[in-house]
Symmetry: C2
Subunit: 150 residues, 2 copies
Amino acid sequence: MLIGEAAQGSGVSAKLIRYYESTGLLSASHRHSNGYRLYEERHVHELRFIKRARSLGFPIREIRSLLDLWRNKRRASSKVRAIAMRHRSVLEERARSYQGIIDVLDHLIAACKGDDRPDCPILEDLSRPSARSSRRPPRIGGSGPSAKGS
Amino acid sequence: MLIGEAAQGSGVSAKLIRYYESTGLLSASHRHSNGYRLYEERHVHELRFIKRARSLGFPIREIRSLLDLWRNKRRASSKVRAIAMRHRSVLEERARSYQGIIDVLDHLIAACKGDDRPDCPILEDLSRPSARSSRRPPRIGGSGPSAKGS
DNA sequence: GCTACACCTTCCAACCATTGGAACCTCCAG
DNA sequence: CTGGAGGTTCCAATGGTTGGAAGGTGTAGC
């Protein structure tokens, strides 16, 4: 089949299929005499695999490993699992980082009146020198090490 | 002061300061006769502002608005608040999306034995056609949104 | 004056995944 | 023969940051 059909069958755009080929992730089996890329059913399967993995946030580099493992019938599932766990920890770190920011924004948004006057704790925070957690006075209340919670 | 001093004073690299200038975010006041950029204290303040805003994940485009508001003493705090809230919702959406993926990975990782045999639910999921949520029967389970509880 | 060095300048490239466009070729139908 | 739908290639942009090259400038020591 031609690239258009592979694209439609997999949900991956023709442009992206060519890009994947350029990165060595997935290459067409043959070229037709006119230069057109030719694909088989298994390419569509692999493209769907890639698409699903991308939708789970795996970077191309790791998808390459996952594809290799998928093709290798002698694989050890521990390797797949390790990749998934590493990726999970990356995502968790990012989610945690986002959540930390959201918590800060929540404080600032709650403190900002949001009227037509200029006073704004949000801008005040952004323009503060750099000792951030000043809203928590030092050595008072002594609840121990900071840690924004989580 | 020269760009190096402004960089050291703000924590923003000289390279980045030049990039910010190229995008119109922050321009040096003058140029010395030899072509060197010249900065004042207020530039360092603005660079710190930018740095803090970036650390909260604001994109340059929004930082531009925030800087404009910060400079404008007749601003309405409602505008600042609106920007912060919009940004908050973007972050929340991303965090939620990550969390959704993490939940999926948790299921898959738990189901994968992770030994030296090839059987692997993770790869099976990735290679499955596309009807994803089959593992969750509709309207059962309803433990509500995860909520890691800050 | 010469040399070494630290600092500045500009321009180009790379990261990551994806999309868009231009310029061009190819196959098929009308 | 013309039109159109598909294919091909290469270049550019996204967003923020970093790296490097190639070269100008200022200041120190000799």
